[in-house]
């Protein structure tokens, strides 16, 4: 029984209605397919990282750590002086003298000496590593291979990402290398980038949105900002190199402030990196903030101005509070992009090997993505494992940032 009928020029028929529904279903499945592709890509990406972050390894220690235990107390629980004694007893006098020269043993803490023992005494070496997939499915073959090729080595199931990995500094041995320096470098550069770009970006957005008249000059500025957001990041690296590292080297290296030490007097510092990232995300922050400000209904501005408020009073009391959630979300998303940037930092000179923690804007630096990049291009398999592990750390950092964005947004939107 059909309720359809011909009425005037409307030709409604069951077939026609069915065709319209069919078209709708086709479009719907295209959308679903697109979503599915996105999900698959994400899953594959995650699996690749996870696959390389865990798995069996053939580990060969120079010295068995258990043999270093004192009175049954394992190495990691020993006191600093006990560790120092073990270190002195197990390395050459020359090497020990070098440690002493780099930083007197007396000034080092237990963790530092423990690291030295790990690196120079126990000196674990991963002869071969297998990814998670192989580890789970081909354990028999791995065991056979171990017996044939590395009879002395120990088969360990390693999680390449672990607490030691997070808190250790860089090393040329992937077994003991960590990402502490890179994490600190990332946090430092990002903080400087935010510190620079957030106030500048929001101020520019307020100006463009609330004050600027719609004239030729302002339209050119707007177009340029929109285009800058799409400029490849490496261009920003070149810009940063030319301006922050070279032209303003005296400032970015801290010489002008008398704050430089001899190792960093060339401008390739945290400050240069942070400012470069700041300039990189500036257009994004401006555009996002503009969108957030645009979303504030005009009726609020009229109400504010209508009461005899000045433009700035209206912006401060009504426009900004009502757009702050959007501004923050947009800015954090922009900053998330900056955290993952590699190319511009490599261009302005992220250190390839650095073991000192950055301790201020004038320090040398590396960052997580720069570190991942440098490890990925190494030939040894174990470096690929720690590159994957570092990627996981980076992902966690990004998740934390985005979670902050959500929390902030909820906190501020509830006020409205």
């Amino acid at each position: 029984m059909s309720i359809l009928r011909k009425r005037g020029d409307f030709v409604e028929s069951e077939q026609q209605l069915a065709r319209r529904h069919a078209r709708g279903r086709v479009v719907l499945s295209v959308f679903q397919l697109a979503t599915l592709i996105g999900v698959i890509v994400l899953v594959v990406l995650l699996l690749t990282i996870i696959k390389n972050s865990f798995g069996y390894s053939a580990v060969q220690n120079e010295v068995d750590p258990e043999s270093l235990a004192v009175n049954g107390i394992p190495l990691e629980s020993l006191t600093k002086s006990q560790l120092a004694t073990i270190l002195q007893a197990n390395v050459s006098a020359g090497l020990f003298a070098r440690f002493e020269h780099d930083q007197p043993i007396a000034e080092r803490d237990a963790a530092n000496i423990y690291d030295l023992i790990q690196e120079h005494v126990i000196a674990p070496e991963v002869e071969e590593s297998w990814n998670l997939y192989d580890s789970l499915t081909k354990k028999d073959q791995i065991l056979v291979l171990m017996n044939e090729q590395y009879p002395d080595a120990e088969l360990q199931f390693l999680s390449w990402v672990n607490w030691d990995f997070v808190r250790s500094q860089q090393s040329s041995h992937p077994e003991i290398a960590g990402v502490r320096t890179a994490i600190l470098g990332s946090l430092w550069t990002i903080s400087i980038a935010i510190f620079f770009s957030l106030p500048v970006g929001v101020a520019a957005a307020v100006y463009l949105q609330e004050y600027a008249r719609d004239n030729f000059l302002n339209r050119i500025i707007q177009t340029n900002i929109n285009n800058l957001a799409g400029v490849p990041s490496i261009i920003y690296g070149i810009l940063g190199l030319a301006i922050f590292v070279r032209a303003f080297g005296a400032f970015t290296s801290g010489v002008a402030f008398g704050a430089a030490d001899s190792s960093t007097a060339n401008g390739r510092t945290i400050l240069s990196a942070g400012l470069t990232l700041g300039v990189l995300v500036l257009p994004l922050i401006i555009i996002n903030a503009q969108e957030a400000i645009k979303a504030v209904p005009n009726s609020l501005r009229e109400a504010g101005l209508g009461l005899g408020a000045s433009r700035w009073e209206t912006v401060w009391a009504h426009v900004l509070p009502n757009s702050i959630a959007g501004i923050l979300t947009g800015s954090i998303l922009a900053v998330s992009r900056a955290i993952g940037e590699t190319a511009p930092l490599v261009v302005i000179g992220a250190s390839t090997f650095i073991q000192v923690d950055p301790d201020g804007p004038f320090s040398k630096f590396t960052t997580l993505p720069a570190q991942i990049y440098q490890w990925t291009v190494r030939p040894q398999g174990a470096f690929h494992n720690i590159a994957a592990a570092a990627s996981l750390v980076l992902l966690v950092l990004l998740l934390a940032l985005n979670a902050t964005a959500i929390v902030l947004r909820n906190k501020y939107s509830r006020r409205l």
């Binding site: 005009n298 009726s299 109400a303 209508g306 009461l307």
Partner: protein, 262 residues
Amino acid sequence: MANSSNGNYAIKADKLSVYYGEFRAVREVDLGIEPRRITAIIGPSGCGKSTVLRALKSLCELIPSVHTEGKVVFGGRNIYELDVDPVEVRRRIGMVFQKPNPFPKSIYENVAWGARINGFKGDMDELVESTLKSAALWDEVHDKLDQSGTSLSGGQQQRLCIARAIAVKPDIILMDEPCSALDPIATLRIEELMHDLAKDYTIIIVTHNMQQAARVSDFTAFFSLSEDGKRAGTLMEYGETKHMFTRPEKKITEDYITGRFG
């Protein structure tokens, strides 16, 4: 035009024209508003009623392409002279908009904010209470002053907007179709409120509702589009409401009032 005035206007438009870019939305309006009276502005959609209100309040600059010609005399000055500060004009001429637009802040803050930025140094609690009472809202909100203004009903929001406007002690209150988004009961409350406020304030109300104009206003200004095809808003007839609604001078006014067009 019919006008029982002694020449002491609260505000007066003098050959006022308003342009959006090239388009002249309002053409050479002469309109003197009687103090402490309610003046209704009626007319078909798009004839420039809202535009006139904005122009009287110096609120046009929000829209970038707008410019005005002619004068608006208020407090003895033409508000469009360069040395007159629009911020001061806007404080002394309050406005209530068609769609209730309370700030998404507490009820208290909605009333207090305008006073605070305008340098009010007295007892703010007292001001908020007396203002909300004048706006016939106190009884309904006195126990929830810290709730958001946007949580109120439409009619309450509109009365909050009126309270907000009178909290800064303006001379004139402009209302742009303040009841068009409200139900009949809320509308009635606003109309009663307007009657009370007219003791202290000059009120100009734009309305689409003939009965409302007849009920509340002392004077009525009828706007319509000019008949020369340029579609500019023109003041057609202006006079005491009782005359306008019984014996309009122009045919077009009568047609509009009796619902024959518009």
